[in-house]
Symmetry: C2
């Protein structure tokens, strides 16, 4: 049976990245691993690792993207929580069989070669949940001694 | 310097605990460690451990508590994210010195002997953040061999 391993990341939509970093990086002391601008999502994202998980701060770079519309409608706050699962296709079948409302019935490509799928907040208790499976590590060829 | 160790838990306010457990426990497969009714918070809470963190599902048991008012105003969803810190009093001083808006300027008692303090969403990017420091483990007396 597919299972959940850990909280992968918390994605928080913010209006002002510098102001959010003043809390998460400067005051709380999380390291800022990197900042990326993702044209396909029309967002600038700051990645702050935290004990095996990560805080991601998302700032929309336009006014039409999903993230921009989320911000306009609901204000800054949690966009989604992402959980790492062991076998995403099997997990999605397992959820579907239980009547869970999926936004993605099949995995879609995520960051860094991962596969992801979103679960509708209606099924989770009001939280947008992302399930992710990291890219498989290349298998090492074993050489004889 | 005080620092953040990990995501301790995600607290999600729900209307119907059985319906939420149908997703988190039955479909996703998280173990249900226990369910507790906390009279002082007027809430029933289900605790589901997850890779060093925990998902907590909160159902208000009255209509007047903070959790009940949150549910009435905003609907089900994330109530707060809790992070474990190494030295809560020092962390609160550190945050205050940076101008972070604290809900609790001093630690208050949390569950299981822990100390907790809340940071106002205004400073975090719209997310209610709890900082917690677990109860100190009793020091073992060293006996000579």
């Amino acid at each position: 049976m597919a299972s959940v391993r850990r909280v992968d990341h918390l994605a928080i939509v913010v209006e002002d990245l510098d102001r959010a970093l003043a809390f998460w990086r400067d005051a709380l002391g999380l390291p800022l691993a990197r900042t990326e601008t993702l044209p396909e999502q029309q967002a600038e994202i700051a990645f702050l690792p935290l004990g095996g998980s990560q805080v991601e701060l998302l700032r929309p770079t336009d006014t039409e993207s999903g993230i921009a519309r989320f911000l306009a409608k609901r204000g800054p706050g949690l966009h989604h929580v992402s959980f790492e699962v062991t076998d995403l296709p099997a997990m999605l079948r397992q959820l579907k069989a239980r009547g869970v409302r999926l936004i993605n019935e099949q995995p879609v490509p995520g960051a860094g070669g991962s596969q992801v799928a979103f679960v509708h907040p209606e099924s989770t208790g009001g939280v947008l949940v992302e399930l992710c499976q990291p890219a498989a590590k290349p298998r090492r060829v074993q050489h004889g001694a």
